[in-house]
């Protein structure tokens, strides 16, 4: 098993590590068998993901895919971000060893979950707004 130069580069210098205060969406996924746990935070403005950060417990591939997925979603619309597949993440990293492909699945799942969370939150926000509007 060998990692691509790109994987190692993202592993050495992961982008967007950390949390976002008051995020618009959070996706937390974990694979108890493999032991990877990933948290993805997004900030959305006007339907565009303006910031993304992550925290990951996991192997080299898990950290590199986390880093890459945050790069890929930044400045994308929510609709476009939903289309990012695990394959796209792996390809952007110059490929992953077959045994590590599940790490890219985890990145996709974290992203889907964060976007899902965003939708739920905005629905709630919208209904709160509507209720507030009705009361005033």
């Amino acid at each position: 098993m060998e990692y691509s130069e790109k994987v190692m580069e993202h592993f050495r210098n992961p982008r967007n590590v950390g949390e976002i205060e008051n995020p618009d969406g959070v996706g937390r996924v974990g694979n108890p068998v493999c032991g990877d746990i990933m948290e993805l935070y997004i900030k959305v403005e006007g339907g565009i993901i303006i910031d993304a950060k992550f925290k990951t417990f996991g192997c080299g591939a898990a950290i590199a895919t986390s880093s890459m997925v945050t790069e890929l979603v930044k400045n994308k619309s929510v609709e476009d971000a939903l289309k990012i597949s695990n394959r796209a993440v792996a390809e952007a990293l110059g490929g992953l060893p077959p045994i590590k492909m599940h790490c890219s699945v985890l990145a996709e799942e974290a992203l889907k979950k964060a976007l899902d969370d965003y939708r739920k939150r905005s629905k709630i926000a919208a209904s709160v707004k509507a209720v507030k509007g009705a009361v005033s």
Partner: protein, 389 residues
Amino acid sequence: MKRIYLDNAATTPTDNRVVQAMLPYFTEIYGNPSSLHAFGQGAKHAIEEARHIVGASIGAKPEEIIFTSGGTESNNFTIKGVAFARREKGNHIITSKIEHHAVLEPCHFLEKQGFKVTFIPVNKYGLVDPADVEKAITDKTILISIMHANNEIGTMEPIAEIGKLARSKGVYFHTDAVQTLGHLPMDVNELNVDILSASGHKLYGPKGVGILYVRKGVRMLPFMHGGDHEQGRRASTHNVPGIVGFAKAVELANEEMGKEIEKLTFLRDKLIKGILSTIEFTRLNGHPIQRLPNNVNVSISYVEGESMLLNLDMEGIACSTGSACTSSSLEPSHVLSAIGLSHELAHGSLRFSLGRQTSEDDIDYVLAVLPGIVGKLRSMSPLYKKEVK
């Protein structure tokens, strides 16, 4: 960059003196030991001398030593060879949950052939309780196989005691001594073993050669069928340079064992103490005292092993991990699971195995570098954040 090799339990560098001893057997004394002419007899003489040296080093007669291709073959040879030779007597084998895959997998294979295998659990230090072995013995038990020392966590098993038990019940007793031959004093009579496996490349010898000690009178089917090499027990033209190298490695190990154990124990304890005292949320895996002089195995909470291993490698330090992410199964180490570690702790394990070439400077360097790596990975770990809050 300076590179520090702390993965000697995986394999050791071949000692240059071993290489020198082997060289003539590639190009000068290259005959087939089975040949009657002078070329063959020169080689034959060399392997018989090697057999003598290896046998004497563990209290065995030369004819009780069979040369094999390594530890995995020796273990397969034993498990299958005894099972098929003694299947009329019984179909039950006892082993432990923390054996090397080279023992566990032949056992799983035999289960598919209708044999019954009991896998004895271990305590939190990785120790097999001889009382558990005793309870597991039935009138169908034909073989007990318990390793001398565990390759991952370094725990030394009570072999002599289990051997005594096995003998009193008339059951063959095998030990996988791959991690101990050449590292610790060993006598097959004191250990009460009938069969013992060892490998050349774990004791500064060459890869591709191992031994099986088989006590006189023990019945086993041959593993390789072909010519009548090794008293008809293991066909295949002898690996003459390998066998010569193995014996040279054993010779050197015996000469240097005393001071080697002393040096390694000191460095091992320094590294353990250093890690546990400078990095919080760490634990030692394996027995604190009853352990191999060169083995350090720690679990570092909230970080994953492979990412630590890669970071250490970038700093020039080579070690290994029991994390699933480096194995092809994605399951964490069966040994760390057997001693009761949670998935996360098993994933956060590192094994440093010291060797002949390890210096105190190397240990100091690891202790200087590791806390920073752990800190960096913890800062991006969602688990650490939760704990600290």
